[in-house]
């Protein structure tokens, strides 16, 4: 067996130095880390980022919300400062596993694990979030869509750490939603999910619309055609009628144990319609 290391730095610099020197698996809340290694010996170096301090878990600065790598789903749920645009992400948070998962699992971990069924990603896309990556080389940010490469793959370099998710907040009134379709009530992997954020003008016309669908493609996808069609429209329940099959072009659903591709294509339309209806309510 190869000798392997465990390192749990308490500051970011130590973590980045370690990453630059060695190859590491990053460990945060462990809720994807351990299940992925069930029944296999641990033979890797593990960098545990859970003790890095010096950052508030959720903070607001310069028109941007910052969700640090420590922020768990429970932290998000409990934060009453977050504006309505986060309602959808909060709803997703309540549907990630059970409470014992939400208490430890991080939002950054959900993104980095890059599962096609990650419940956090549609709303992060809809929030237009940026990923903050740090290394000894410096800091860079990437939009979510440019960060996730494919099924369980990201564009994070080996020497980088995801240090935060950054969510712009224009201060405009916004509404957001998350709808998850699963085959049981709790602890369920999504068959399809939809996350959406709409920003509204004073007269309740839609000024920006971002709608994303998960579990229907290797990486959750926004639906630009649908989004464009919404801009300038007034928020009302009739919006649901706009949803059309052609909006689904970016999706490529597959058959798996949770449902057929046909079913997904059918169900996503319903979820989109319901999302719009809810947003207008």
């Amino acid at each position: 067996m190869k000798p392997s290391l465990y390192f749990r730095p308490t500051n970011l610099q130590e973590a980045l130095t370690a990453l630059s020197a060695n190859s590491w698996s990053v460990l945060a809340g462990g809720t994807d880390f351990y299940p992925a290694r069930l029944g296999k010996p641990l033979e890797e170096n593990v960098l545990d980022v859970s003790a890095i301090d010096g950052q508030e878990k959720i903070s607001f600065n310069d028109g941007r919300w910052r969700l640090s790598l420590q922020a768990t789903w429970s932290d998000l749920i409990a934060d009453n400062r977050l504006p309505a645009r986060f309602d959808g992400l909060k709803r997703a948070a309540r549907e990630v596993g059970g409470v014992q998962i939400q208490n430890r699992a991080t939002i950054c971990g959900n993104l980095c694990n890059a599962s096609p069924a990650a419940d956090g990603i549609p709303n992060l896309l809809a929030l237009d979030a940026q990923v903050e990556l740090m290394s000894l080389q410096g800091r860079r940010t990437l939009p979510i869509a440019d960060f996730v490469k494919g099924n369980r793959r990201t564009f994070r370099r080996e020497d980088e750490l995801v240090t935060a998710l950054l969510v712009p907040d224009s201060g405009r009134p916004a509404r957001s939603v998350f709808l998850k379709l699963g085959a049981r009530k709790y602890l369920v992997i999504s068959i399809v999910m939809v996350g959406a954020v709409l920003e509204l003008a004073e007269d309740s016309r839609i000024v920006s619309a971002r709608i994303a669908v998960g579990a229907c493609s290797p990486v959750a996808q926004r639906l630009p055609l649908l989004e464009e069609g919404l801009i300038g429209r007034r928020l009302e329940t009739a919006l649901a009628d706009m949803v059309h099959e052609r909006h689904l072009a970016p999706l490529a659903p597959i058959d798996d144990v949770r449902g057929t591709a046909d079913y997904r294509r059918d169900a996503v339309i319903t979820l989109l319609q319901r999302s719009l209806t809810e947003l207008a309510r």
Binding site: M1, P3, S4, L5, Y6, R8, L27, G29, G30, T31, F33, Y34, P35, L38, G39, K40, P41, L42, V46, D48, S50, A51, S74, R94, G97, G98, V99, Q100, I101, N103, R104, L181, A183, R184, K185, Y186, L187, V188, I189, I191, H244, E245, V257, G259, T260, D262, Y263, D266, A267, I269, T270, L271, Q273
Partner: protein, 916 residues
């Protein structure tokens, strides 16, 4: 990995361990700190059995590296007891009957503690949300919800401290389940134990050979032995039936299913964990697998077992009347085909135990439903005499039929014997799912016929049951189903045939109902079709045809007593009428949600089908005036320990406090058969009554008192009275009679009276039957194909409820499993080998359940009791499927009715469009 010293507190006590910091907190608690109250059901976050508090917040101990515990406060179930007293929460669980097997109880208690610390008077929704991450397979959750909700309230649980039959006595063995002290298969092992891990076939069908093991031994000095088929001292074969045993302990060059053991590694724990499966040198030659019965029955299919031509293991048959003529003559006849899936038992406790050699004897401590059969089978495999084997069952964390077959017992037995060292083993969740038995998938063709007045005239049924790679309980299923397939109805002409078919799938065995739930899905759906065509109320249609006292069954058996189906339906009728109206009202105004109400009925013959099925029970009286109940009737969570104590106390007329229970150790208890087929209350309970009568008789004879004599025990003083004179006997002066220091020993044996069935399946297959009927109210989202069960009303004729709380518990648990069967459970070998791809109902999926206990006493049963374990489950799936049909018009002929299947069925009705 280098070890680090890590400090934290556990239950307010400082702890320090020097371990690999990536070791899971759950492992450290259990293995390093001896706190085995924290359970491991999956090691993947899916079951919540390992839930502990980290700084007050519920967390899965299987997902927390011990390195992250440094400096934090951990609370486990062991920390809930204060000053030797159960906490209020624990007491509420005990009083409400919220634990059956108890393996989920620590996790439930911890999740609930977190909730109650934050929200002292939670709403029901709060409870569901907080406990949503802990799975329970036994209770159907409702009593757990009640227990947690009771904390904010003053209403006490309806508990009786009285031991008499009919009382709501809390579980006599419940305390240890509340405190974490209970010892399940993985909770106890000798300190110097080696660890065993099986290596299994990754292929459904393959030939294989081993390479040279030398390199593996050289790379891993802690590896002590690699066991293969060559190491088996006796026969490398086991199986349920005395003839036709076909399953090897280790495959010999030929693997018939994915998950079949080919060899096992034995060594110290760290070494065994460090060896990757692919380090073991195996050459595989894959063969094309026969998956599903269609493949196995094709004329070109390979023959998987020498003795089974065409891969047919066995056929079952029942014929009564001229079914063809009856179908032709009937006013209406309908036919269809049905398909069910593999269903996994998903007990939260994976297989676990240890074995050790004691002189020329072998002791096995393991989780099991059938210690005596284990003993006999292990003896054959070991080449030892039965007396040389001692089976000490651990507490069982759920069975449902899945722990009737041998699993790890022979492997650890052989290893411990050969190495003369204790050897332990715990299956991982994927290993448990891939290698142990399942519910048989059934392919059913059925025709039903009736008169226009609504009298059933005929049922023709054929079921092919996929028994997987080995026979296991396939013959039982093939024989039981033909007797039950026409349902609990009077049907003059019946022709039922079944086959158990070998395939390269996971072996199918015993699972709550032995094939009957599958048959009921087909029949009960067809009954609704008939009712619809005949324009009859489906409920009254069933009532009209229901078996009743004096009815003759399709096997020609006259039922003279205890036929409570109509009473069950009578109890449900008011709800039926009300719920049907409410559903119609709801549908008037609802757009995409539609509600419906369905009914299903079931019956279940108690015990073996036409085979001897005896139990022996023993009661001893000691010099100090204490009674010992020697009960081999194994409690797997269903509560037979409590039932037997109640029967014992009541039959002897003594208080519970003077009875000691010795249970399920093949050295200490007589053979009470297996815990299956809903038989323990009826068969072992009846044997126990006889044992009590025997002991009573001996006591009276001791004093030369005839009936109706009475006795009372007051310490060592025995008072016997014939109503006129009292006699006082000093027990301490009597000579010991039994080997356990008993001065008197009463024994009872009961074998339910049955007769063999003839070639047409005619005879008396069972001494008695339990009956049940259920209603389901569902809400279907027609656009998404999802189904929410809103309410279940469950009635069951159990003869006599020895303990009503436990009968309700069985009903709730059966309903939850039936709901899973109907809507979500589908085991696909190689694809759903974990508890996130294989879905069982969570606390949010099981609706409120109304229970109606019908007591139509069975003269043969103890105090009139029959069984309830399986009849609880049979009607649930049919009721749900019929409710879906009532709500939407969609008929479901393949279960589970997953959202995609139901959506397809909805669209097939032509009433619902594709989304656009």
């Amino acid at each position: 990995m280098t070890q680090q010293s890590i400090r934290f507190t556990v239950n307010d006590t400082p702890a320090e361990v020097s371990v690999d910091p990536l070791r899971r907190l759950a492992d450290v608690l259990r293995e390093d700190l001896g706190l085995t109250g924290t359970k491991i059901g999956c090691n993947a976050g899916d079951c919540g059995a390992c839930t502990v508090l980290v700084d007050g917040r519920q967390s899965c101990a299987c997902l927390v590296p011990i390195g992250q515990a440094a400096g934090h406060a951990i609370v486990t179930v062991e920390g809930l007891v204060a000053k030797g007293q159960l906490s209020q929460l624990q007491q509420a669980f005990q009083d409400h009957g919220a634990a059956q097997c108890g393996i989920c109880t620590p996790g439930m208690l911890m999740a609930a503690s977190d909730l109650l610390a934050q929200t002292p008077s939670p709403s029901e929704q709060d409870v569901l949300d907080a406990l949503g991450g802990v799975l329970c397979r036994c209770t159907g959750y409702r009593k757990i919800v009640d227990a947690v909700l009771s904390l904010g309230k003053t209403t006490a649980a309806p508990v009786s401290r009285n031991a008499v039959v009919g009382a709501r006595l809390p579980k006599v063995d419940g305390l240890a389940k509340m405190t974490g002290a209970e010892r399940y298969g993985a909770d106890s092992w000798p300190a110097d134990s080696l660890v065993l891990r099986a290596i299994r076939s990754p292929h459904h069908h393959a030939r294989f050979g081993f390479g040279d093991f030398a390199a593996l031994f050289a790379a891993h000095p802690g590896l002590v032995k690699i066991l293969t088929a060559a190491d088996i001292p006796g026969q490398n074969v086991f199986g349920i039936y005395p003839t036709g045993k076909d399953q090897p302990v280790f495959a010999e060059g030929y693997a018939r299913f994915r998950g079949e053991a080919i060899c096992a590694l034995v060594g110290d724990a760290a070494t065994i964990a460090a060896i990757r499966d692919d380090e073991v040198p195996v050459e595989w030659e894959t063969l094309s697998p026969l998956q599903g019965v269609e493949a196995a029955l094709s004329p070109h299919a390979a023959q998987l077992h020498e003795t089974a031509k065409g891969n047919v293991l066995i056929e079952g048959r029942l014929a009564r009347g001229d079914v063809d003529a009856a179908i032709t003559k009937a006013d209406i006849r309908l036919s269809d085909n049905f398909q069910t899936s593999f269903v996994e038992h998903a007990y939260i406790e994976p297989e676990a135990g240890y074995a050790r050699r004691v002189g020329d004897r072998l002791e096995i401590f393991a989780t099991t439903q059938t210690p005596y059969m284990d003993r006999d089978e292990v003896a054959l495999i070991m080449g030892l005499r039965q007396e040389q084997i001692r089976i000490i069952p651990s507490a069982v964390g759920g069975g449902f039929g899945g722990k009737l077959d041998l699993s790890l017992q022979p492997m650890i037995g052989v290893a411990a014997w050969l190495l003369n060292r204790p050897v332990r083993c715990t299956y991982s969740r994927p290993e448990s799912m891939a290698s142990t038995t399942k519910r048989h998938p059934a392919s059913i063709a059925i025709t039903v016929a009736a008169t226009k007045e609504g009298r059933l005239s005929a049922v023709r049924f054929h079921g092919d049951y996929n028994t997987g790679a080995y026979a296991s309980w396939g013959p039982t299923v093939a024989n039981r189903v033909p007797v039950h397939a026409m349902g609990p109805y009077h049907v003059p002409a019946v022709y039922c045939t079944t086959r158990a078919i070998y395939t390269n799938d996971t072996p199918a065995g015993a699972f709550r109902g032995f094939g009957v739930p599958q048959a009921a899905i087909a029949l009960e759906t067809m009954l609704d079709d008939l009712a619809e065509k005949l324009d009859l109320c489906p409920f009254e249609f069933r009532y009209l045809n229901a078996l009743d006292k004096g009815s003759v069954t399709a096997s020609g058996q006259r039922l003279d007593a205890s036929v409570g189906l109509r009473a069950c339906l009578d109890a449900l009728r008011p709800q039926w009428e009300r719920l049907r109206l409410e559903a119609a009202d709801f549908n008037e105004t609802s757009r995409h949600l539609r509600r419906g109400v369905g009914v299903g009925c079931g019956w279940y013959g108690i015990g073996n089908t036409s085979l001897p099925n005896p139990s022996i029970m023993r009661i001893g009286l000691k010099r100090d005036g204490c009674i010992t109940l020697y009960s081999g009737a194994l409690d797997i969570g269903q509560g037979s320990n409590t039932i037997m104590m109640q029967i014992c106390a009541d039959a002897l007329g003594v208080p519970l406090s003077i009875i000691d229970l010795v249970t399920g150790d093949t050295d200490l208890t007589p053979d009470a058969g297996k815990t299956s087929a809903s038989r323990q209350t009826f068969v072992s309970g009846a044997a126990l009554r006889l044992a009590a009568d025997d002991l009573r008789g001996q006591i009276l004879r001791l004093a030369n008192v005839g009936e109706p004599g009475r006795f009372a025990l007051d310490g060592r003083t025995l008072r016997v009275s014939d109503g006129v004179t009292d006699q006082v006997i000093d027990l301490a002066r009597l000579p010991a009679a039994g080997e356990n220091g008993d001065v008197l020993v009463g024994e009872g044996r009961f074998d339910p009276p049955t007769t063999p069935l003839d070639a047409d399946g005619q005879g008396i297959p069972y001494a008695t039957y339990s009956f049940s009927a259920q209603l389901a109210l569902v809400e279907v989202d027609i656009e998404l194909g999802t189904t929410k069960v809103l309410r279940i009303a469950a009635a069951a004729d159990v003869g006599k409820a020895i303990n009503p709380t436990q009968v309700e518990g069985q009903l709730h648990g059966g309903v939850a499993q039936g709901l899973g069967l109907a809507l979500m459970e589908e085991y696909i070998p190689g694809r759903t080998e974990n508890l996130h791809d294989y879905l069982i109902p969570t606390i949010g999926d099981v609706p409120p359940i109304d229970t109606y206990i019908i007591e139509d006493e069975e003269p043969l049963g103890p105090f009139g009791a029959k069984g309830i374990g399986e009849p609880a489950l049979v009607p649930t799936a049919p009721a749900i499927l019929n409710a879906i049909r009532h709500a939407t018009g969609a008929r479901v002929t393949r279960v589970p009715a997953t959202p995609d299947r139901l959506r397809a069925a909805l669209r097939a009705t032509g009433r619902y469009e594709a989304a656009k």
